[in-house]
């Protein structure tokens, strides 16, 4: 398979998958009635954005940006045959995952609190109650 065709396929699959994840998440947020499902949809949007970030930093035939002993001794020619992928998006995604975890946890705590008041996680029923 030629290099360029490979690149095309990878491009479509990675960008397409992250786009699909983002859209599925937004669809879930807009249509679902259950609060926990809405939170799950938000996490799906999160993973879509993270996948997009990491795939933006990818370089064809790249290796992980880790200078292992094999690389440092010159056993693997890093910068000629296999360049290192961009480490900055990976570092940003590491941050984003942790922040996403915090947001999800606070959201779940709020859902628990709402469930205690209303005994339901359906957003329509909660809206009808005055408290």
């Amino acid at each position: 398979m030629s290099e360029e065709l490979m690149q095309q396929i990878l491009s479509i699959s990675f960008y397409g998958a992250s786009l699909a994840l983002i859209l599925i998440g937004v669809y879930g947020v807009l249509t679902k009635k259950n609060l926990i499902k809405i939170l799950l949809s938000l996490t799906i949007v999160d993973s879509g954005v993270n996948l997009l970030f990491v795939s933006l930093g990818y370089i064809m035939n790249g290796t992980a940006p880790i200078f292992s002993p094999a690389i440092m001794d010159g056993k693997i020619e890093v910068l000629k045959t296999a360049p290192m992928v961009d480490p900055v998006p990976q570092a940003l995604v590491l941050t984003a995952i942790v922040i996403g975890l915090g947001v999800t946890a606070v959201g779940l705590a709020l859902v628990i609190r709402l469930f205690r008041h209303h005994n339901t996680t359906n957003i329509d029923e909660i809206r009808n109650l005055k408290w």
Binding site: Y15, Y27, I59, M72, V98, R116
Partner: protein, 240 residues
């Protein structure tokens, strides 16, 4: 009807997003700042894992903010869910519930130290292998989750968790301030960097990641414990 409108809306959003995404060339070298990082990380800082050196050293201030967000999240969960927990622990119906089966109990006992060991390994070797404080902390928290779901009577002491969290946080910020005192920038490396790919290399990165590992582990364990003990409260409410 509503769903059709939403799908149409998403189609429009998706079309324009795709238009932008597929403009970006995939797999091509478009690094600007990263070249500097990839050059400085092994040569100046002697850190093997470039992602770690970016997270803790080049963008260390960002990570301090990230740790603060996690701390805020755990504090927020505590304040949202806190409700007369002292009273309820006495009448806790969950405490009288049967434990998990004996197989699960024994396996949990065997697995727990190994999980904690793996977590410690991941955060101690954060500057050498893929891993770091956040990942290691989460692994340790999963070990505590195993104990919390297996043994109904198991509970973690929140005051000691708070102490561990506070000491780890103060260590992180204190290293930054120490750099300022020694005439460097905030969170800039001031220790000898050592040989690359040795455990004691990379200067302050190892210390900061151990602190972050403890902090994340204690915060997540606290969150898990708070969330698991909350089911009891709603049951009590229904009875009242």
């Amino acid at each position: 009807m509503k769903k059709i409108i939403i799908i149409l809306l998403l189609a429009v959003i998706g079309y324009f997003l795709a238009d932008i995404f597929f403009e970006i060339p995939f797999g091509e070298d478009s690094m600007v700042v990263s070249k500097e990082y990839l050059d400085k990380s092994p040569n100046d800082l002697h850190v093997a894992n470039t992602v770690t050196s970016i997270v803790v050293n080049f963008r260390g201030f960002d990570t301090l903010g990230e740790v603060t967000v996690l701390f805020l999240a755990s504090t927020a969960i505590g304040s949202i869910l806190f409700r007369r927990r002292k009273v309820h622990t006495k009448l806790n119906p969950q405490r009288n519930a049967p434990h998990a089966s004996r197989i699960v109990q024994i396996s949990a006992k065997i697995l727990f130290p190994l999980i904690v060991l793996l977590g410690a390994y991941v955060f101690i070797h954060g500057h050498l292998t893929p891993g770091g404080g956040f990942q290691g902390g989460v692994i340790i928290a999963t070990g505590y989750l195993l104990l919390l779901v297996t043994y109904r009577k198991f509970s973690v002491s929140h005051s000691s968790l708070t102490w561990i969290e506070a000491i780890a946080g103060v260590t992180f910020a204190g290293i930054g301030v120490l750099g300022l005192i020694l005439g460097k920038d905030f969170l800039e490396n001031f220790l000898p960097v050592g040989t690359i790919n040795n455990l004691f290399s990379g200067g302050i990165i190892g210390i900061i990641y151990v602190a972050v590992g403890f902090k994340v582990a204690s915060e997540l364990t606290g969150i898990l414990d708070t969330m698991l003990s909350i089911k009891v409260d709603s049951e009590e409410n229904e009875q009242n």
